[in-house]
């Protein structure tokens, strides 16, 4: 064979073998491992439902929030989930536009991860409101009171940014899915399955005209999604940067938040890819090369995050302002030192192991590191949201924050919801884009991805 072997997929893949392997779970179902995953996810989602109903019924007072810490775990979790939601769109949109072939086999579940993370994140701003029934007052709509939202508030920008991001991500994901849904429709053995997939396949017949329009639309959405990747976390960072609380009021926050989002998002891709590859037997599609590349992205974005930490400390010191110095002191040696140094250990120190090729090739090591990074990113958001509020300007108001069982239940519950949604995804949707895989095995192999002959 004249074609060199690629590191991005197993040799010998054909259209038929791809279709057979990828459509197996939706058509034939999954075994007991999947049922365990489904049970875990359902349990978590039920915990979430309980905490959510109680919060709506009794009030946000059930949470640990107070004065001065008016935002607690809910907003920490919101920022954390939104950050995780970044990698999917970045992988599918930006890497698509940059013709990075390695995105092909992972983009479907990475995008799904984005959607589910945004769904989890979106719960928090709604739930944390004192009167969530009036959430729509944050949106401009023609009302008889002639009241608009207060456009100077970053929360209004948030409402725009997140709803836009969620909508575009969903459409982008769905457009990419249409040809694969048609495959499922055609291969479905039962009438109900065929009808359902048929509805969502939008009458796809695979004609060249379909393909033409599909590719146009797909690339258009990739173009639309690209700025959103940057804008969403920038806007989220404004929630803090616009405020005047020491530890919030900082111009580095937009790029710092975006880098952090990419960092945590890629870590989450690893966290998901490793069990998924094992559970669904995707060894032919998700190769060591993928993990190697993701690990390199992690290393790079991790250094941007580290730069952000350093800048925060430096600017705090350089400003000479009492309150800025105070928060730096609290982080380095004060009451926040435990959280701060744990954050540094998780996000800066331990990920340096990724310089080693052996670590990048070891799936257990990568999996452990991806968890560590996501813990670190959560701690970083805790530091920003809670740590800054615990001690601001007037000492008489300082008070420590303690989350309640409801805070934790909602956090763990959103993880359960995330797992549940993933369980449903792998059961009903092809987790690798069959259409794009078929394209990939026909494309010339990039020299960088060429398997060594030896």
């Amino acid at each position: 064979m004249s074609r060199p072997a690629s590191k991005l997929y197993a040799p010998g893949l054909t259209d038929a073998s791809i279709t057979r392997a990828i459509t197996a779970p939706p058509i034939d179902g999954l075994g007991p491992r999947w049922l365990v995953l489904l049970a875990i996810g359902t349990t978590g989602a039920l915990v979430l439902a309980w905490a959510l109903v109680e919060t709506l019924r009794v009030g946000v007072g059930l949470w640990g929030i107070q004065v001065p810490v008016g935002w607690g775990l809910a907003i920490v979790n919101f920022v954390w989930w939104i950050g995780i939601g970044h990698a999917g769109t970045l992988i599918s949109a930006i890497l698509l536009l940059m013709h990075q072939q390695w995105r092909t086999s992972i983009n479907r579940f990475a995008e799904s991860m984005t959607l589910f993370a945004v769904a989890c994140a979106g719960l928090f701003p709604l739930l944390h409101m004192g009167r969530p029934e009036y959430f729509y007052w944050l949106l401009p709509y023609p009302s008889t009171t002639q009241m608009w939202p207060q456009f100077r508030s970053p929360l209004v920008w948030d409402a725009f940014a997140i709803s836009t991001y969620g909508t575009v991500s969903l459409l982008f994901w769905y457009i990419g899915l249409v040809p694969d849904l048609a495959v499922l429709r055609d291969r479905a053995r039962r009438r109900l399955t065929r009808v359902v997939y048929g509805i969502f396949a939008l009458g796809w017949r695979g004609s060249s005209r379909h393909w033409h329009r599909h590719q146009q639309l797909y690339r258009l959405f990739a173009g639309l999604a690209t700025p959103l990747v940057v804008s969403v976390h920038t806007v989220v960072s404004f929630d803090f940067a616009i405020g005047l609380i020491p530890g919030w009021h900082s111009t580095i926050f937009p790029p710092f938040f975006v880098a952090g989002a990419i960092y945590s998002g890629f870590a989450m891709v690893i966290t998901i890819a490793i069990p998924l590859r094992w559970g669904l037997g995707l060894h032919d599609y998700v190769r060591p090369r993928h993990f190697d590349l993701i690990a390199k992205v992690l290393l790079a974005s991790g250094w941007v995050v580290a730069y952000g930490y350093a800048t925060e400390i430096f600017v705090g010191w350089y400003s000479g302002g009492h309150y800025e110095l105070w928060i730096v002191e609290r982080k380095l040696v004060g009451d926040l030192a435990g959280v701060f140094w744990a954050t540094v250990a998780c996000n800066v120190v331990l990920p340096q192991a990724l310089w080693s090729k052996r670590v990048r090739a070891s799936l257990p090591a990568l999996f452990a590191l991806s968890i560590v990074i996501n813990i670190g990113m959560w701690l970083e958001r805790y530091l920003i949201v809670v740590g800054s509020l615990e001690g601001d300007f007037v000492p008489s108001s300082w008070r420590s924050y303690w989350p309640t069982i409801y805070d934790w239940a909602i956090y763990l519950g959103t993880m359960g919801l995330f797992i549940l949604l993933f369980a449903l995804l792998v059961r009903f949707v092809p987790v690798v884009s069959m259409a794009e895989m078929r394209e990939l095995i026909r494309e010339p192999v990039d020299p960088a991805d060429r398997e060594d002959e030896s």
Partner: protein, 929 residues
């Protein structure tokens, strides 16, 4: 009912969340119907007189009545505002000498006592059966009172004293006992020691340039505390500064205001008083620097020496002797003929019980079983027949054979004297909310006379004084009967006797741990024990809410191995208690302060709140020497409103040391105007990118003088009453969710090696460039044209972003439905002019916008400029620390205060341009100390 049990991690029942059972609900509905419908339809009883012109039946217009509250038996004149027959707010009566228009937290909270549902008694309590009471007492009455004992609290009410005299005349063998757990008796006894005859005294603090307090708390304790604070406040102006020396065994409002404070063991105060008198009499220069300075100042200037109610009579005698020596008598201290029933103590009663001579005990007021557990309390059950008459049953009423609920001061006719003898009158502003009777009614039953209407009794007593109907009308309008102040009595001290009093003692100094007993700043000796406003109000120095604690200095705590909240076992004599500890800088070593008034079984609110210190208190003593204090392993959770009590190198509250205010702290170089004059306005110093709003009249602003603020917390309770602020309960306070719109921050610092306190009331700053407004997504907090930072509750969706972004942290959030869960009866006291906030909504100080609007509307209708209205906090402040008014009116006090060199804006460097600003605290220490 309201025990603070916790079910699955959340409060099951909080004070704001009382679960109402059927019986309670019926009772509440009956009360609502009674209060809202009947008085609403009824005209005022023809005898009741308004303090202001009668608005007739105009809806939405308040009626104001002058009446009188009782404090330790003395009268405190107040003006009560009522809507539809419901009292909703009270203020001090400007014509009453104990008030001068001001009030403190306890008076303000008396409003809530009126509505207290626990006044109705325990569920199932039967109506008072006067026939049964009469039958029980009849055999004793036939024996002319033999075996019948009457226990009353000290009273100054001429009508009641007259009635008691009549009772004694009718039943000559009846024994009358006068007792209360905390009285002015030691002062009276001291005066009698010195002058050989009973006398009453009152201070005129404004006349003293030097005040020496010997374990005394004139600003926080006793019926004259508001009068004294009112006189003290203006003397803290830089141009009229007095100098305050305080030697004390605990931390009090007066001690925290002192220029020279000395902490010493309570047992050492007597020796200090002796040394003071010797130095004044013989010119001996004492070794102690504090005393040396005090003596030098007392010799040179108009002075006043005050002894504390917790000190023995000897110390009072010495203090009054010192006043005689420095010529303060008739000037800063005035003696008059006695006006209160002399205190007899409990000993005769206890001895009579032990001799089995007491057939029946009738107690009027108080809760003696609670406050004297070791003496009367232990024997109460041995008395064949007991009758207790009080507003709340408490320990005594629930053990008595018969309990007769008393009326609230706003429900009855009556009278009382202030310490200077001025008579003030009580009139019933509302029909009794609950079944209740006056003390006269009980006395009539006891002596088996036909009850006379209280009003008739009162008018019969005062008709000779006020004369005709016009005179009666004048007295009821004013609330006081003019010209009833007692004339000063000439006194001639026996200087040889003074010398003998002041002889140094040979007794060795005490060594062990000493207990100091003090009435709680808000609950008193137990009177306020069931008042949720007072229970929740953070104590001025400990900042604790819903609990008392054994207070000790850091050194004592270290010696005992104790941290905040650690449980202690305290034993004295046969009594022992367990209580949590709280570390309080500024206390002397080996001294433990036990606040009284807590742990009283007075009702649902009081249940579980704090501990009673009475079991370890010897008699009525203010302190006990050589007590056993042992630390235990366990800890008790305490709710502290302000965990951080030091300023950590910042300066939200500033001291002024005579130089012009320095705004350049923290490296910011603003605060002085370019021409260097003192007309700079630190609240408007920086350039800004935000829209500059023009200041149009009126532009409301507030200036709070930290030199005058004594930290009493009256403003917070007045605000709570005015603005329908809910009570949230201990658990919520511990979680940082207290709702007070104005808080009084207290910082304790080491200044020149001494412990110093500074109090800072913090309402909303009404920033001209408000950080909260910028971040609200729904425009629920906006600026109005008068410069108010307004809250639109309806529009608030509760993101709490504004509270996060408020650098002063003055915003309060309704985390739960605090108002909706409140007892239906308490809801009757709400101010109809102020929105009751719903769950999930942010709230904060509005500068009493309802009052500002009323003033603006009145000005509009009458076509004249807006007359400066008063905010609730300003109106009640005893020391006049709060100035409020129109900034654009250069003549207004608030504009003048902003030109003061002491003027500064808290966090002015943030360029928030606050409308609420401060005057730095002045002190007046002697330069050579």
């Amino acid at each position: 009912m309201s025990d603070l049990t916790i079910i699955d991690g959340r409060p099951a029942r909080e004070p704001w969340q009382i679960e109402v059972d059927r019986r309670d609900w019926l009772r509440a509905m009956a009360a609502i119907t009674g209060a809202a419908l009947v008085p609403g339809c009824r005209q005022d009883a023809p005898e009741v007189v308004l303090a202001t012109p009668d608005p007739g039946h105009t809806p939405g217009v308040s009626k104001r009545y002058a009446t009188t509250l009782l404090d330790g038996g003395y009268g405190c004149g107040v003006v009560v505002e009522a809507r539809g027959g419901r009292p909703i707010k009270l203020e001090g009566n400007p014509r009453h000498p104990a008030s001068r228009g001001a009030a403190d937290a306890r008076w303000q909270a008396a409003l809530l006592d009126l509505y207290d549902p626990d006044r109705a008694g325990p569920p199932g309590r039967r109506p008072v059966d006067w026939r049964a009471i009469g039958d029980q007492l009849a055999p004793l009455v036939r024996r002319r009172g033999a075996g019948l004992h009457l226990l009353v609290e000290p009273t100054t009410s001429p009508t009641l004293i007259h009635h008691l005299d009549a009772a004694r005349a009718a039943l000559p063998r009846m024994t009358l006992h006068v007792w209360a757990p905390w009285t002015r008796a030691a002062g009276h006894a001291g005066l009698e020691q010195l002058y050989g005859r009973p006398l009453e005294w009152h201070h005129r603090l404004d006349r003293a340039d030097v005040i020496v307090a010997l374990d005394a708390d004139p600003l926080g304790d006793g019926p004259d505390r508001v009068r004294d604070a009112h006189a003290f406040g203006p003397r803290r102006r830089p141009d009229a500064l007095n100098r305050l020396y305080v030697a004390e065994s605990t931390v009090t409002l007066t001690g925290a205001a002192a220029d020279h404070r000395k902490a010493l063991r309570p047992s050492a105060v007597l020796d200090l008083a002796r040394a003071l008198v010797r130095a004044l009499q013989n010119g001996i220069i004492p070794d102690d620097p504090w005393l040396r300075a005090a003596v030098a100042d007392l010799r040179d200037q108009r002075g006043l020496v005050i002894a504390g109610a917790g000190q023995p009579p000897r110390v009072h005698a010495l203090a009054h002797a010192a006043n005689a020596l420095i010529g303060a008598v008739g000037d800063a201290v005035v003696y008059t003929a006695p006006i209160a029933t002399p205190v007899t103590g409990l000993d005769p009663l206890v001895e009579a019980i032990d001799r089995d001579e007491v057939q029946a005990l009738v107690s009027l007021g108080g809760d003696p079983v609670y406050a004297a557990p070791a003496t009367l309390g232990r024997r109460y059950g041995q008395i064949p027949y007991t009758l207790h008459h009080a507003r709340l049953a408490g320990h005594t009423g629930s053990r008595a054979t018969a309990f007769v609920p008393a009326l609230h001061a706003f429900e009855q006719w009556g009278d009382a004297r202030a310490t200077d003898g001025t008579v003030s009158l009580c009139q019933p502003i509302t029909a009794p909310l609950y079944d209740g009777y006056s003390a006269h009614r009980v006395l009539s039953a006891v002596i088996d006379e036909i009850p006379v209407d209280d009003r008739v009794r009162l008018e019969r007593r005062w008709q000779p004084t006020w004369g005709d109907a016009a005179g009666r009308h004048r007295a009821l309008v004013a609330g006081v009967i003019e010209g009833t102040a007692a004339p000063p009595v000439e006194t001639a001290p026996d200087f040889a006797a003074i010398e003998r009093l002041a002889l140094p003692s040979d007794a060795p100094p005490e060594l062990g741990i000493e207990l100091v007993f003090r009435p709680d700043p808000y609950l008193g000796a137990g009177e306020g024990a069931n008042n949720p406003w007072l229970l929740e109000a953070p104590r001025p120095h400990t900042r604790l809410s819903w609990d008392n604690a054994a207070l000790m200095s850091p050194a004592t705590a270290a010696a005992l191995g104790v941290v905040d909240g650690a449980l202690l076992r305290i034993a004295y004599g046969a009594g022992r208690i367990e209580c949590p500890a709280w570390i309080q800088p500024g206390l002397p070593r080996d001294v433990v302060t036990l606040p009284l008034g807590w742990g009283r079984d007075a009702g649902r609110m009081a249940r579980g709140a704090g501990f009673s210190a009475y079991p370890v208190r010897p008699g009525e003593a203010g302190f006990a020497v050589d007590a056993q204090v042992v630390a235990m392993k366990a800890r008790a959770p305490l709710a502290c409103v302000q965990p951080q009590r030091s300023m950590e190198g910042r300066d939200p509250a500033r001291w002024h040391d005579g130089t012009p205010s320095d705004d350049t702290s923290h490296g910011s170089s603003h605060g002085r105007s370019h021409d260097g004059t003192s007309h700079h306005d630190p609240a408007r110093a920086h350039p800004t990118l935000h829209l500059e709003r023009p200041r149009t009249s009126p532009a409301w602003a507030m200036v709070i003088d930290l030199a005058r603020c004594i930290g009493c917390g009256a403003c917070a309770i007045a605000c709570q009453a005015e603005n329908n602020i809910p009570v949230v309960g201990k658990r919520e306070v511990a979680r940082g969710r207290v709702m007070h719109w104005i808080r009084v921050d207290t910082y304790v610092e080491q200044r020149d090696g001494r412990t110093a306190w500074i109090h800072q009331p913090v309402p909303c700053m009404h920033c001209e460039h408000a950080p909260c407004e910028l971040v609200c997504p729904t425009a629920a907090t906006v600026h109005d044209e008068q410069g108010l930072n307004a809250m639109v509750y309806n529009r608030c969706v509760g993101t709490r972003y504004c509270a996060n972004n408020c650098p002063y942290k003055v915003r309060r959030f309704n985390f739960f439905d605090y108002n909706g869960g409140e007892d239906a009866v308490f809801a009757l006291r709400r101010n109809p002019e102020v929105t009751v906030r719903a769950e999930g909504v942010m709230e904060k100080c509005t500068y009493c916008v309802q009052r500002l609007r009323a003033a603006t509307i009145e000005a509009d209708t009458k076509q004249r400029p807006v007359a400066a209205p008063q905010t609730a906090c300003q109106q009640t402040c005893p020391t006049g620390a709060i100035a409020f008014g129109d900034l654009t009116d250069v003549e207004s006090p608030v504009a003048a205060a902003r030109r003061d060199p002491r003027h500064y804006a808290m966090l002015g460097e943030l360029n928030t341009r606050p409308r609420t600003t401060y005057l730095a605290r002045t002190t007046n220490p002697r330069s050579d100390v």
